[in-house]
């Protein structure tokens, strides 16, 4: 996990389903190996490679599987910031080593296309309208994120 992330923002609304963000999740032929070429989003949602997702309440709701996280990682999304997350998305992301930040203030303050900096040491997100602080991860979670996911973390723990 990097300590400092900067990038452009792709801003989404409340109650976003992974299917709405990643349409290839719902097509039959993509069994997890979908190539992440170009813009995956429809005419309204355009996520470019390497963009930080900033979303509203309950991001990632709906029956999703780990494919959505794999696809987000394939799109080089460095982290996801949302007012709140759906449970499965939150767990999946942490277990896959994708940092997720719960920060309602950031959702209010940040607009689409903006450049932001996420600092994990100082626990704050700096954007045009100021600085939004977020909460530190509990011990287990930061260990999982720094190991790169739950599987590498458990493998390491079991090797000990």
């Amino acid at each position: 996990m990097m300590n400092r992330i900067d990038g452009q923002v792709c801003r989404l609304g409340h109650d976003t389903l992974p299917f709405q963000v990643l349409p290839q999740l719902s097509s039959a032929d993509s069994r997890g190996q979908s190539s992440a070429k170009g813009s995956l989003f429809g005419p309204t949602l355009k996520l470019k490679k390497g963009e930080i997702i900033v979303a509203g309440r309950n991001f990632g709701c709906g029956s999703n599987d780990q494919r959505s996280i794999e696809l987000l990682k394939a799109m080089d999304v460095p982290c996801v910031i949302a007012a709140s997350f759906a449970r499965r998305f939150y767990r999946d992301a942490i277990n896959a080593g994708l940092p997720v930040i719960e920060c309602p203030e950031a959702f209010e303050a940040i607009s689409s296309g903006e450049q932001i900096v996420v600092d994990f040491d100082r626990l704050e997100i700096s954007c045009k309208r100021g600085i939004a602080p977020f909460q530190a991860y509990p011990d287990v979670i930061s260990k999982i994120l720094s190991s790169g996911g739950l599987i590498p973390y458990t493998r390491k723990a079991m090797a000990k």
């Binding site: 999740l25 709701c61 709906g62 509990p138």
Partner: protein, 531 residues
């Protein structure tokens, strides 16, 4: 005998209280004393609700009728009457803390009561801590871990972890329910891997193809009990909350980690208390409640747990409770629980011989939110697949053509659901424009449906019967939807693309609505078929 004086009777009543004992003093029967009392206009003796000491103590503490009354949950005037009854008229001389206008912490209440929700209690018990707070992340060992159709993927991850033995073969269940029997040839080898794995690790609770859907089998075979922490690899895993267990869903990676190490991290969720009032009207079922309230609760779904209360929930059978709680996992809830009660106890008593340890929330547990629904005026609902969540009253969607009807699956494939549908379909023919598929939830349900003649009624009407399992509910086998087609299903959840083609539409409804729709070939109100 001459009637004693009123004063005398009152004194005796104060001393002996009952008519019988007063009668013994005079050597007369109790009914005569009652007659005397009536003549002298003396009421029967009643114990004071609040003792003189209690009223005096509260008056000394608060010095204010309103505050003291609030402590006893009575009004200001009510407390004043008690005070006057005991002749307490003097203001208290010494001021105590409570008489000061300070916002003091509620120490007296916190001391005696734990004030915890079910989620907090169960997670504290499993994590070995005395108490956990909402939002804490705890490391726990589950009571039971269940994996279903995706077991072969878990096995692959398990092997990647380098683990040699499974954590506890007695606390693990594998059910092959999804996508079987395979139709595209891809599923065959994966089942073989699972069967070999089960043999190698001596997993006791393994259910092969055709036995049924995991939620139904686990409940039918009483593998989980109230107060337990159950983790499953399926999003509809919340079903076990129907008997008062804390059930939550896990992903493939997490389940592999549980198999290998027996431990996983969980966040202690906030709890929403949902109260269902009223009685369902004719032709309306629990499925309609679920469709209606899941739309209302959607904006609260993030990571919270639900607890269901109210007379409507008390009146539900365990089967109906399975329908009630099963659907909330897909929206984003962590768990949904119907607290253990008499109904669940009667249901489990037949199967579980050992003692179980049910848990309930404290009366003043810190619920994050409370929601109340009156279901008395509810009409049949139809869930819309356009955005997955909205539900509309049947009147607004009646007449929309449907190509396929799916009746059954984990949410509504039990014997009472099939009974409702069979009663509607018996002696009638389904529309020639519709394909209707019936999927019983388990082999036991199928056998009972055969015995009761429901299966005959379905086949006579023109329906197909699929083997117990997930069937056409998910992108598995049997009747797939083609592009541009529309289906009406009793599944727990749906979103575009769930049954293969992204352009197809899926409506969700109750078994009664599904049966009526199959008859007419378009969405139909079931109430006209139910007498």
């Amino acid at each position: 005998m001459k009637i004693p004086r009123k004063k005398e009777l009152l004194e005796l009543q104060k001393k002996y209280r009952s008519d019988k004992k007063i009668g013994e003093v005079y050597g007369v029967p109790a009914r005569l004393v009652a007659y005397w009392r009536a003549k002298k206009k003396i009421g029967a003796y009643s114990f004071p609700k609040y003792s003189e000491e209690k009223v005096q103590e509260l008056w000394n503490r608060f010095g204010d009728d309103e505050k003291a009354g609030a402590e006893l949950n009575i009004s200001r005037a009510g407390f004043r009457q008690w005070r006057r009854k005991y002749g307490i008229n003097q203001r208290p001389v010494h001021l105590s803390l409570e008489q000061l206008e300070l916002a003091l912490p509620d120490l007296s209440r916190r001391k005696g009561l734990r004030r915890e929700t079910m989620a907090q209690k169960i997670l504290a018990r499993k994590s070995g801590l005395k108490r956990v707070e909402v939002g804490d992340i705890v490391d726990i060992e589950p009571d039971f871990a269940i994996s279903h159709g995706c077991a072969f993927e878990i096995i692959r991850k398990f092997q990647q972890l380098g683990a040699e033995r499974i954590w506890d073969p007695c606390k693990t269940a594998i059910v092959l329910d999804r996508g079987l029997p395979g139709c595209d040839g891809n599923r065959g080898p994966s089942s073989k891997i699972v069967r070999e794995f089960v043999k190698k690790h001596k997993i006791r609770d393994f259910y092969d193809i055709g036995q049924g859907i995991c939620h139904q089998l686990i409940i039918e075979n009483a593998l989980v009990s109230p107060g337990q922490l159950v983790l499953s690899s399926d999003p509809q895993a919340l079903s076990y909350g129907s008997i008062g267990a804390f059930a939550s869903s896990m992903t493939i990676d997490e389940m592999a980690v549980i198999w290998a190490s027996g431990r996983i991290w969980l966040r202690v969720p906030e709890t929403i208390k949902v109260t269902l009032n009223g009685r369902l009207s004719r032709g309306v079922s629990v499925k309609d409640i679920v469709l209606k309230i899941s739309h209302g609760l959607l904006s609260h779904a993030d990571y919270k747990a639900l607890e269901f209360y109210g007379p409507a929930v008390g009146a539900m059978s365990v089967s109906e409770r399975l329908t009630l709680v099963g659907a909330f996992g897909d929206i984003g809830f962590k768990s949904a629980i119907v607290p253990f009660d008499e109904t669940a106890s009667r249901f489990l008593k037949k199967m579980i011989k050992s003692k179980f340890n049910p848990v309930s929330s404290d009366p003043d547990a810190p619920f994050a939110d409370e929601a109340e629904f009156d279901i008395a005026y509810l009409t049949p609902q139809v869930g819309m697949s356009s955005n997955g969540f909205s539900a509309q009253a049947i009147e607004d969607v009646v007449g929309r053509e449907v190509d396929q009807v799916i009746l059954g699956c984990c949410s509504n494939g039990r014997i009472d659901d099939l009974e409702v549908a069979a009663k509607i379909l018996r002696g009638r023919q389904i529309s020639r424009d519709v394909r209707a598929v019936v999927i019983p939830a388990s082999r036991k349900v199928l056998l009972e449906a055969i015995d009761r003649g429901y299966i005959r009624a379905f086949v006579d009407a023109g329906c197909m019967i699929q083997n117990p399992g997930c069937g056409s509910c998910i992108e598995a086998h049997g009747q797939m939807l083609e592009s541009g087609e529309r289906a009406l299903s009793t599944a727990a959840w749906s979103c575009p693309g769930r049954t293969e083609s992204a352009e197809s539409e899926i409506y969700l409804a109750s078994p009664a609505t599904a049966a009526a729709t199959a008859l007419e070939g378009e969405i139909a109100d079931p109430r006209k078929y139910i007498k």
